[in-house]
């Protein structure tokens, strides 16, 4: 499994919803991370030009939560379960990986708090029988769309 792979501009590296028990480190080039790639609801979440992607697949056996597409000719390192120990013998890489996971946790927790705040505002508007602002309704829809079974 371990080894480097090159993707050309526009090539899909991994697809939202797929079960793949490996992750990638972007070595050279850059990739774009999309929700609903190819659909009318397509949304670009981030550009990544170094660091890890797909770590939830390897570490938590979760399906891919986004589609990743090469922005240009991009070289990635593929890290599977069997390579994990070897790959992270390097303490610098362990540190990067660890910080990447902490950031992930931070992001989920802050999304959770945003969702709670949106619920609070929505219920408040409902109780007061006040009209809900467009942005409030949009925010509710965004969280509803993020739901995975």
């Amino acid at each position: 499994m371990a080894g480097n792979k090159t993707f050309e501009k526009g090539e899909v590296i991994c697809k939202e919803g797929a079960y793949e028990l490996w992750m990638y480190e972007v070595i050279k080039g850059s990739v774009a991370v999309y929700r609903d790639y190819g659909l009318t609801t397509q949304e670009k979440i981030a550009d990544v030009d170094k660091g890890y992607i797909g770590e939830m697949g390897l570490i938590n056996s979760m399906p891919r939560i986004a589609t990743v597409v090469a922005n240009e000719t991009t070289e990635v390192s593929v890290i599977g379960e069997d390579d994990f120990v070897e790959y992270f013998k390097n303490p610098e890489k362990t540190t990067d990986m660890f910080l990447c996971l902490v950031e992930r946790l931070n992001k989920i927790n802050s999304d959770y708090m945003d969702a709670c705040a949106t619920v609070r505002d929505y219920l408040k508007a409902e109780e007061a029988n006040a009209p809900k602002s467009g942005s409030l309704v949009e925010a509710m829809k965004k969280f509803a769309a993020a739901f995975r079974n």
Binding site: M56, I59, N60, M62, F88, K89, P91, E92, T94, T95, M97, F98, L99, L101, V102, E103, R104, L105, N106, I108, N109, D111, Y112, M113, A115, C116, A117, T118, V119, R120, L123, K124, V137, M140, K141, F143, A144, A146, F147, R148
Partner: protein, 151 residues
């Protein structure tokens, strides 16, 4: 570098870090029990969690935001203090800690993701009923109120 370099002992009730202050150190619990509090020492004090293994305060490693809660020793506790700048050295000196730390973090991510998905699921159900002008169950309303109160 020995473990002693990172180790500190905190007596019961000693504050380890305070809500609103800045620090980029992570704490690994070797022994004892730590309480994580909001508005510690005020009438509004709420205990968010107890930690008796793994680590806490790791957000300080990646975020420049101030501490979101206060950490207090609930009994005599031994902690390892790992500042951001010494993280690589720490992993180099104690490679066996990698798995433990990444495992703890993965579990936390899994749990947080489950919680987040639950609130998203409730929201989805709620707006579906709203759009259809249908009545919501008391359970769903109670759950939504619970989320609202966490904000």
């Amino acid at each position: 570098m020995s473990k002693q370099h990172y180790m500190r002992t905190y007596e019961k009730d000693r504050v380890i870090f305070e809500e609103g202050t800045y620090s980029n150190t992570m704490y690994i619990v070797e022994s004892g029990r730590i309480g994580i509090f909001k508005e510690y020492g005020t009438p509004n004090q709420v205990k968010l969690a107890e930690v008796d293994g793994g680590m806490f305060g790791e957000m300080g490693l990646v975020s420049d935001a101030p501490r979101s809660a206060t950490a207090v020793a609930l009994e005599t506790s031994e902690l390892e203090l790992v500042p951001r700048t010494e993280l690589s050295e720490y992993f180099e000196a104690f490679p066996y800690m990698k798995e433990q730390i990444i495992d703890t973090l993965s579990k936390r991510i899994r749990q947080s993701d489950r919680d987040y998905m639950k609130v998203c699921g409730c929201i989805k159900e709620f707006i579906k009923l709203d759009e259809a002008n249908e009545k919501k169950s008391p359970e769903l309303i109670a759950q939504m109120k619970k989320y609202a109160s966490m904000a």
